[in-house]
């Protein structure tokens, strides 16, 4: 790259993660200095830890910058193609990732129809139109694609069910509810490549003879909704929605914040304007769904795979992956690691490769990884050579889920993590089934007792017993899987539970009721910041923390400039009379 290289285009990543890191302010400054150089807003390339990200395209190639600050100095550095904040994809991610579904994410403008076309967009749809609908279903069957929403049901088979129906109306629903708190694959896809997801839906509609499409999107994703709506307008303008002899309506509906509405029968109730309670299946939605019409539901990422399958053919697609799980999978990596973000890997990649090589997590500081969110389980680091696919994760008591993957460091408490998930599920239970409604509450209360230092050894047996009963006694996947986080931690981290109930200690020093806070006097510079900031006046004038008053809010630990205040084991701190 030479100084004489001319800048031809500038791309700023303005997906939600970028914006949260300050991309809009950067964008404004870049625009101010760009003069005649075109400045484009793009989605997320998956390297969320490096946001805000800016690509400078020059006659000599592209130079990327990360962690760009909204300052004149940082902007000038980029315009001079300076060396500061240069961004390179970490070697581990380059080596282990395979970008197919997110190939264009962050590389093209999400709301530009033309750029999507220039990069091979809508080729799959065109190819599908040249085939018979049942041939399209056949390709999807051959690809071995399984639903990415968590269930892993074979997509081609589901399409076949709807295609076989002879009805005046057939409904296609895109499940964009992304309820797993800690997952953002679907958000990224919709924000960054809305046309790709829509292309998948149009192909599905053609193949199954659907007459209407609903997209049920989580309300917390305003940018995704905006981009989808712009893309839908562009589709209408070009009449790409004219298929099967009629013009297809594509309607985006916002969810209203209920986890259970990700379950397909609950989702349909919610779309009908009702309370989102699941119902017994059968009848399956493909027999009776939205207003009793045959209805098929697929996840966002499932649709995102479809244009690729039709484009390259089902057989070619199936070359990647494992015996029972084909293709690539997106994972939202977050938690205790160096490179959190969105990753795409072939099915069968091991957890170790994802967490350590791609995520850059420190092997000495990882305890477990949580997959599948509140329905999933944790897998201890000893089992990280497990290949990631639907079947191997299930055999470990976890699930693949939709792709949320939270790395849990050594300094986190597994009992507290289990309590967190049960807090979530007991509140999200719709209340229809007794075991789910009351059982999850009892489990939650028991866990609260344990982290509160009031648990007994019998509580662990109760948790196991109740967990198994809830599994059996619940109608929908929420209840059937809600005990998983507890059962999995009991299986792999029983010793942590035992330390809580027998020794009344939390080795990770995470559970507030089981820790004290102490100030190490020898390093103290008597700056009094702890005294000034403590909300409950627990630090005395001679710098002793009274654990009777202390609420373990960590304020003093955060403000101390010498890092001389610590959480210590219960009983080691000072207590006033």
């Amino acid at each position: 790259m030479n100084i004489s290289d001319k800048i031809t285009k500038i791309r700023v990543g303005t997906a939600s993660c970028g914006i949260a890191a300050g991309a809009n302010e950067v964008l404004e400054l870049v625009k101010k200095h760009a003069g005649n150089i075109p400045v484009e807003e793009v989605g997320c390339i998956g390297h969320c830890y490096a946001e805000p990200l800016v690509d400078i395209e020059t006659t000599g190639g592209t130079v990327s910058y990360s962690h760009v600050a909204a300052t004149e100095k940082a902007i000038a550095n980029m315009f001079e193609l300076g060396e500061d904040n240069r961004f390179d994809i970490p070697a581990g991610r380059k080596a282990k990732e395979l970008h197919k579904v997110i190939r264009l994410a962050g590389r093209i403008c999400p709301t530009s129809y033309d750029e999507y076309i220039e990069n091979g967009g809508y080729k799959g749809l065109k190819k599908a139109f040249a085939m018979q609908p049942d041939e399209v279903v056949g390709e999807v069957k051959k690809s071995g694609l399984r639903g990415r929403g968590g269930g892993g049901f074979p997509t081609g088979m589901k399409w076949g069910f709807l295609a076989a129906k002879d009805a005046e109306q057939k409904i296609l629903i895109c499940n964009a509810d992304e309820g797993d708190p800690g997952a953002f694959m679907d958000r990224s896809l919709m924000e960054s490549v809305p046309h790709q997801v829509l292309e998948g839906m149009l192909i599905a509609a053609y193949a199954t003879g659907a007459t209407k499409i609903y997209i049920y999107c989580r309300a917390e994703y305003p940018l995704a909704i905006k981009h989808l709506q712009i893309a839908i307008e562009q589709i209408y303008e070009r009449k790409l929605n004219e298929l099967n002899g009629r013009s297809l309506e594509i309607i985006v509906k916002e969810g209203a914040g209920a986890f259970v509405c990700g379950e397909e029968t609950a989702l349909i109730h919610s779309l009908e304007g009702k309370r989102g309670t699941p119902r017994f299946r059968p009848p399956f939605p493909t027999d009776s769904g939205w207003k009793e019409w045959p209805t098929m539901i697929n996840n966002v990422e499932t649709f995102g795979n479809v244009p690729i399958i039709i484009g390259e053919g089902g057989d070619k697609y199936a070359e990647i992956g494992t015996e029972g799980s084909k293709g690539t999978k997106l994972f939202a990596l977050a938690g205790d690691l160096k490179y959190p973000g969105l990753v795409e890997v072939p099915m069968g990649t091991t957890l170790a490769e994802i967490v350590f090589e791609i995520g850059g997590a420190d092997p000495d500081n990882v305890k477990a990884v949580q997959t599948g969110g509140p329905s999933g389980g944790c897998i201890p680091v000893e089992l990280f050579d497990t290949p990631v696919d639907y079947d191997s994760l299930r055999s470990l008591g976890a699930i693949m889920g939709s792709g949320g993957m939270i790395v849990i460091g050594k300094n986190r408490c597994m009992v507290e993590t289990a309590r967190y998930f049960l807090d979530f599920t007991h509140r999200e239970s719709c209340g229809k089934c007794t075991f789910c409604r009351v059982g999850t509450k009892r489990m939650f209360e028991t866990l609260e007792r344990i982290v509160g230092g009031k648990g007994e050894l019998e509580d662990l047996d109760f948790l196991e017993d109740m967990g198994n009963k809830i599994r059996k006694g619940s109608l929908c996947g929420l209840g059937q899987t809600a005990p998983n986080p507890v059962l999995a931690t009991l299986r792999y981290f029983r010793n942590e539970y035992e330390v809580h109930v027998i020794d009344r200690q939390c080795e990770a020093l995470a559970c507030n009721a089981l820790v004290d806070v102490q100030l190490e006097q020898s390093n103290c510079i008597k700056c009094k910041l702890c005294i000034k900031n403590c909300p409950v006046d627990a630090v005395s004038d001679d710098f002793v923390i009274d654990n009777n008053k202390c609420t373990r809010c960590n304020t003093c630990i955060e403000v101390c400039p010498k890092n001389t205040i610590f959480r210590v084991k219960k009983g080691e701190g000072f207590y006033s009379e």
Binding site: G182, K253, Y420, T555
Partner: protein
Amino acid sequence: MQESYGYLNKIDKDPSNLIKGLQAVQATEGYVSDVSIIAVADYFSLPAVEVEGVLSFYAQFKRTKPGEYHICVCDGTACHIKGSTLILDWVSTELGITDGETDENGLFSLETVACLGCCSLAPVLSINGKVYGNLDRKGTVKILKEYRNK
């Protein structure tokens, strides 16, 4: 139908749009009041109890007026692991309100939510939709001060 709810007219009267109607009310007024429930029930020709029944099912709908600045502290998995309970504690102490409350001046309201989709920047919070990531105590307090002095 009261005139002030004229914006509902853009929505088709099919009861399947009930949630959309309630969302329109909340987007305009910031919450759904008793008066609004009756107006929405009228509009869709549904009994008010049914509207209330649907509304109470969904966490999104607020029944009390939020503050001028509505703070959502994320307590999704990633943020929880990264210490969101502490963030909530600090915000609470700073503003003198707890989860679900609005302060006396109607300036701030506070709520916890499950995942804002920016997990890689955990822990995060949002104020009126603007997301702030990689928070520590200093950053959190600074953001709140900025809003208070606005």
